[in-house]
């Protein structure tokens, strides 16, 4: 089976020759290719080459255009701090929507115009052209809560839920409309899966998640699925209290961080919901041994059951020994 066939079969509940393998790599991929991360995040050719290398080296079943959360915000004119060899970061003290009124009349960015969104679309195009036949090509967008935090400032957004619910709704609505357009551009460029990162959603607890975040995640996911592609929802952090809602979003793949035991996730999201994850990226994957990684993954698989895809809780960290990444690959390849 090709990687693409393997992932698609797993999602349809059909037999596979071995476990699908979809760990997130960003800085690890850049380091492996010997490039500085700034160039990885700004030049689609560098990102594509690095992704192809890392997928080939370890036999990953997919390649991804994920790089950092600042692409959309950058194109909207948000202040971003750049580093030579780590991901760019949005400068919260100069948040674009520090003044709420600025949301009124804020135009949606065009993912086809020159900018960082267009660079991601081109990365997808390049990945699809070079390996789209055999591997799943993943585009990437921000989830509504994450995108709102990128524009408003994470700390300020946390107050907005209580202070101005209508503004939060308006901001989430804007984020969803923007990300559906961004996803569409990536699908047209050849993405067969869209990943959604909504890390900020893990901070708000079940009451606010169900009231504010879930409806917009559902709308975003429905919009992307209507384009005929698959969706992976990844929420970094502790999602133990919101996993039930995550299972209602409609995403084919729920990708969990290590803080949420897969046994709890499975209890909240029965099969055939496919779960992905979720060994501790730092303490187990980077700092562990091949033996401890295999043991931790065995536990994940046992808890998740057959509707499972191998991965870490989040990005494979920079500095992870190659033999540890080989261990995660070997685990997937030796099991069905």
């Amino acid at each position: 089976m090709t990687g693409k066939e393997r992932i698609l079969a797993r999602l349809r509940g059909e037999p596979t020759d071995c476990l699908p393998l979809m760990p997130i790599t960003m800085m690890f991929a850049g380091d492996l290719a010997g490039v500085e991360y700034k160039s990885y995040a700004t030049d689609h050719r560098v990102l594509a080459e690095s992704q192809l290398k890392v997928a080939e080296r370890f036999g990953f079943d997919y390649i991804s255009a994920i790089s950092d959360p600042a692409r959309e915000a950058s194109d909207l004119g948000a202040a971003v701090e750049w580093f030579d060899n780590q991901p760019p970061a949005i400068i919260e003290s100069q948040a674009l929507l520090h003044e709420k009124q600025k949301l009124n009349g804020l135009a949606l960015p065009d993912p086809h115009s020159p900018g960082r969104m267009q660079d991601r679309v081109r990365a997808v195009e390049s990945l699809a052209e070079k390996a789209g036949r055999d591997l799943i090509v993943e585009g990437w967008v921000e989830g509504p809560c994450a995108m709102a935090a990128d524009l408003r400032g994470l700390n300020t957004l946390m107050f907005d839920f209580a202070d101005d619910a209508q503004f939060v709704e308006d901001l989430f609505d804007y984020a969803v409309r923007m990300e559906i357009a961004f996803a569409r551009a990536q699908v047209e460029a050849g993405a067969t899966l869209i990943g959604i990162g909504d890390a900020a959603a893990s901070l708000v607890g079940p009451r606010l998640y169900n009231r504010f975040v879930l409806p917009y995640e559902k709308r975003l996911i429905a919009g992307i699925r209507a384009m005929g592609v698959l969706v992976r929802l990844h929420i970094c952090g502790n999602t133990r209290r919101i996993v039930k809602g995550m299972g209602e979003t409609g995403a084919e793949i729920i990708d969990l961080d290590y803080l949420t035991p897969l046994s709890e996730a499975r209890a909240a999201m029965p099969e055939p919901q496919v779960l992905l994850g979720n060994i501790d990226p730092v303490r187990v994957l980077r700092d562990g041994t091949p033996e401890s990684i295999e043991a931790a993954l065995s536990e994940c698989y046992a808890q998740a059951g057959r509707a499972y895809i191998t991965g870490a809780g989040c990005e494979i960290p920079r500095g992870t020994p190659l033999e540890n990444v080989e261990a995660i690959a070997r685990f997937a390849r030796e099991r069905q």
């Binding site: 919260e92 003290s93 901070l203 708000v204 607890g205 502790n238 730092v282």
Partner: protein, 215 residues
């Protein structure tokens, strides 16, 4: 004198307007600012920390409570200063150089302040020199360092080394935290303490203060 239980309730529920109003009324009627803090606000923020730790409260609720507490503290601080009252300890806190992710640090800073500490918050992306200056010039006795990214964790070591170089390391306690930080890493870089959550960070700071050299 107003019903001070309302101050406790307002901080717990994150109601800044009520917290400020009750504090103003208490001050106007001769209430003891130290008593307001120690009997109502600190217990309320302790309860907020407990609710956060057991996942009844989440980040928005904690920040709202902290905002209510700060609204009240702003009114009480000048009165405390006039009396020459000393804080439990003086903490300088920030995310390390290169790390712009500050929400975890903000939770810790809020709970420390709610726990009676004076908190000098330098915000995000803080150079080691600023921490050194805070120790030398402001008499901070705890330096609290935060990092969310594995790539910025080495800046914790750099900061601790710079504190040594500047000759102030022995005067202070260093505590570290953040998602990828581990107890083992904290020990390796020579930190005095590590906490994996904001509520436990207050307990840690109290323990470290008990053994720290007073400024």
């Amino acid at each position: 004198m107003p019903d001070l239980q309302k101050l406790y309730d307002a901080v717990l529920s994150g109601d800044r307007n009520t917290a400020v109003a009750v504090t103003q009324e208490a001050i106007a009627t001769g209430g003891d600012p130290l008593e307001l803090i120690s009997k109502y606000m600190v217990p309320a923020m302790d309860e907020v920390g407990r609710l956060f730790e057991c996942e009844e409260y989440f980040v928005p609720e904690l920040l709202l409570s902290a905002r209510a507490m700060k609204g009240s503290l702003e009114l009480l601080r000048p009165l405390l200063a006039a009396r020459g009252a000393q804080p439990v300890g003086r903490v300088v806190i920030g995310t390390v150089k290169g790390d712009l992710h500050d929400i975890g640090k903000n939770l810790v800073a809020s709970l420390l302040e709610g726990g009676g500490f004076e908190v000098i918050d330098f915000g995000a992306d803080v150079a080691p020199e600023k921490f050194i200056a805070a120790v030398q010039e402001k008499g901070a006795n705890i330096v609290a360092l935060s990092a969310l990214l594995t790539v910025t964790m080495p800046a914790m070591r750099t900061t601790i080394d710079a504190l040594k170089q500047a000759g102030v390391r022995e005067r202070i306690k260093v505590m570290v935290g953040g998602a990828p930080v581990t107890e083992q890493f904290a020990a390796e870089i020579g930190a005095d303490g590590y906490s994996d959550n904001a509520s436990a960070a207050v307990t840690l700071a109290r323990r470290l203060t008990a053994t720290a050299v007073r400024p």
